[in-house]
């Protein structure tokens, strides 16, 4: 079958370069909760395409600069 996709993100790095934008500020800009931003940074949640675009928009970059995926392992 297909390979399992692992989606990673650079939100923490981008927040640092965005003048240390807080998780709260990013959450407000992206229309998500602070816990969701925390979960995203910890790799505990994969956002929907819509939220991914909103986060990229909050940083003023393209979605590819925030999220990337790699094929991890064969799925059963």
């Amino acid at each position: 079958m297909g390979k399992k996709l692992l989606i990673t993100n650079k939100i923490r790095t981008l927040r640092f370069f965005a003048n240390e934008m807080t998780q709260l500020e990013l959450a407000e800009k992206a229309g998500a909760s602070r816990q969701t931003i925390m979960a995203l940074e910890a790799g505990k949640y994969t956002p929907s395409l819509e939220l991914a675009f909103r986060i990229a928009d909050a940083f003023g970059v393209s979605i590819c600069e925030v999220f990337e995926y790699k094929k991890e392992e064969e799925s059963k």
Binding site: A27, E28, S33, R34, Q35, T36, M38, A39, K44, T46
Partner: protein
Amino acid sequence: MTYPSKRTLISIGVGILLLVVYVIYALGDASPAPDDLKLWALALLVYIGACIAAGIVIQILFHIALAIGIAVKEKPGDDKKVERIIKSSMLEDEREKLISLKSSHIGHAFSGFGFVTGLIALAVGSSAVVVLHIMAGAFAVGSIIEGCVSVYHHERGVPNG
């Protein structure tokens, strides 16, 4: 541990406590006669009402506790920031909805299993009161399981899709 997890854990604790209180009442001397369906239904209605009231009180108390906790952590006088944090923490976004959906799916499956078990019990000749309690018990345990699954997803993460 996140705010929704703490709130859910307290809800689970209160749910278990109320269930234990009901079981003690049901097995005690003050309980209605085994064939008095009307009084058992009333007792279950009171139990459900107590669960709903406890849920509302927990929501209110947790909102107050959250506000106090954040206000203590943040700089004094920064009311706007405290308000923003509370608003963000209480926001029900896509992740909350996904966790809610996944946990309620398991809770409902358990409740459905209880309903079928109740029907089987009725088919093999159990009394209506026993069937009523099998179904009510399945709903109560299903709700507790739903809370446990919700806490698990909040803490361990939830895959999208």
